[in-house]
Symmetry: C2
Subunit: 388 residues, 2 copies
């Protein structure tokens, strides 16, 4: 591998660009996973994660694998064969939950909505009433495959009044949009490091409420995954420091640094930054005749799905963005393949400069491919949000 | 977290010290997991892993989690409920395999040996003959909890003549001791990055033979882990580049660099280096009255378990090594807790200087704690192997 390569501007569905301090943290000399230095860092990470998730949950840790493993960890720890799981499905990640529920031998009760729309909270609450024995209800806060922003409060309040547990996928939303794990009655929540936390991919922050831990302790069967068994992992992260697996030391250095950066900016200031740049991008795209694809009023700040204009070749545009401007954006998945682009403005990638550069680059490429549009309209519209 | 911290000399059971080039690779700017730059790197990693495992297996990749997840990946992909698994058990890692086999709903047939000894190959071959329907036979090449070096060739040859599959744990042995995946008839082999590869923990190199892939394709049930399902993961690492999960980009940078360093040194030269420093440490410890604990003639080069002298406090010695010399060594696990120290000489940590420093530090600490020993005997004995 050559020592240097191009620095990409990462405006896809993740990873986002990492802050230089985070990259520097990665390269610190190693210590052992039971070294007092590392045990102190583990405590620091747990405290910072609690602040970011806005929870007092004791079991708040990074799982030693990527966000998808966080999803699997929540489901395999809380479900046993034969259990029922209500799952909101309006994109790739709800679909993936259904897949995992099936592998557990549990029964999935899907609550479906068209891709790009939210799952109606009342439909989930209805499913809960119709299935009071359901062990869990699951929703994806930020559906990265569509850009839809799922409301959580109503369902959280409804689940809280039952014996069921509320599982939330916050892979893309954590630190980029309001998320109140305790206030909203979320029992199990997982995220990824490579989205709005702007840390490289490799860990999955996760938090479990006491209600979720009670359910874990009351299981009749062993958790089907040894690697993700939280009853063992919590003994390493708790006072016992009981060896389970060798923690990914360097990735934990990076995560700690990324979480410090979140606190230094302030969680609410960070949310507002994501909102402001989303609005600038949205107005800019709209002025260029490129509407957002997700449900009006339910569009994520950090992941914008854009309808590809008819006659424009999806892959060609993305190829030119990468080759000529070093910009990565994402393509559509599943039924949205070839129909949308997915533009991420996550963490360190959410900057005024990136919004303006992307609008400029898109205008030049689309014009070159024959799409007619007013000169500089995107940048002008975005500027009125960004200020001068 | 403070920006700088002490640089440890890592002589425990892993992680080992990482080469500065590997740490520098970690801090390279991120690219996306579908970026052409990353796809090229993936091919490079696969080629280098094949050379290190000494295999032509197409499916040779790093699993996006630590070595224990590699163990789980092999077992959950190759076993279905009701299958029989012959498992050699002579330490922590064989015991862990039995645990995972149980979570799959498969039946474990343990072939046990005392901790510190090898599992007799003829006992495994006997179990195979008694259970011709066994789906897999599993052995731990380097039992990191005891320092025993398991021979693999005879069992490999026996398994090859059957429909069973041979699974080998090479977490600690890969790149530190001879391992010939193809020649020895190993069907599924996994390792960790933080041992003799001297890369930080976080990935698990894994390789599957065509016989193992055939078994995977003939499964009647879905693999119980979505995250570790190789039938999906191979589509991302293969020509389809089908998105499964977001690859840990930075850890893959580091792994590629670590694998290049292995090739630059040469695999056989690297083995000889591990052998030489083991022999120096062994002779030095012996001259100090500290015998190795594992079975004579079957002692690992990269992990030395040392019997703790009677009257010496295990934890006190390790605490002083860390506080006064910045040296980490490991304690015993399970039945060996308090009875042995585990001294790793893995990858970058396997140097003459580390051998000499450890012997010197141990002599000073043990003498201070009241153990009588000849002056400088350890260093003198080690020097006769290391040369001047």
């Amino acid at each position: 591998m050559t020592e240097s390569h191009t620095t990409r501007i990462l405006l896809g569905p993740g990873p986002s660009n990492a802050h230089p301090r985070v990259l520097r943290a990665l390269s610190r000399p190693l210590v052992g996973h039971l070294d007092p230095i590392f045990l102190t860092l583990m405590g620091e990470i747990q405290d910072l994660l609690r602040k970011t998730f806005q929870t007092d949950n004791r079991l708040t840790i990074p799982i030693s694998a990527t966000g998808s493993a966080g999803m699997e960890a929540c489901l395999v720890n809380l479900l046993e064969p034969g259990d029922k799981a209500i799952v909101g499905v309006n994109g790739v990640f709800g679909t993936r939950m259904i897949d995992i529920v099936g592998r557990i031998g549990a029964e999935a009760i899907p609550v479906e909505a068209p891709w790009g729309e939210i799952v109606p909270p009342e439909a989930v609450i209805g499913a809960l009433k119709a299935n009071p024995e359901a062990k869990v209800a699951c929703l994806v806060h930020a559906e990265t495959s569509t850009g839809a922003w799922q409301p959580l409060e109503e369902v959280g309040a409804a689940v809280r009044a039952t014996d069921s547990l509320f599982i939330v996928d916050a892979v893309t939303s954590l630190a980029g949009a309001p998320l109140y794990v305790d206030t909203w009655g979320i029992d199990a929540c997982y995220s990824g490091t490579q989205k709005c936390l702007s840390c490289p991919p490799g860990l999955s922050p996760l938090t479990f409420s006491e209600k979720a831990l009670d359910a874990l302790r009351r299981r009749k069967s062993a958790v089907q995954s040894w690697y993700l068994d939280l009853s063992m992992i919590e003994k390493y992260w708790g006072d016992e420091r009981f060896y389970h697996h060798t923690a990914p030391v360097s990735m934990n250095y990076a995560l700690a640094e990324a979480l410090h950066l979140v606190q230094e900016e302030g969680l609410e200031a960070r949310w507002r930054r994501h909102q402001r740049h989303h609005e600038a991008l949205r107005d800019g795209l709209s002025a260029m005749g490129l509407p957002l694809a997700a449900q009006e009023g339910r569009r994520l700040w950090m992941l914008n799905s854009v309808t590809i204009p008819s006659g424009i070749d999806d892959a060609e545009v993305r190829k030119r963005l990468l080759a000529d401007y070093n910009i990565e954006i994402g393509g559509g998945l599943g039924p949205l393949k070839g129909k949308v682009w997915r533009i991420g403005l996550m963490g360190e990638s959410s900057t005024p400069a990136n919004v303006l550069l992307l609008l400029t680059a898109l205008e030049r490429i689309l014009r070159d491919l024959g799409k007619d549009m007013p000169d500089g309209a995107g940048v002008m519209a975005a500027s009125s949000i960004l200020g001068s």
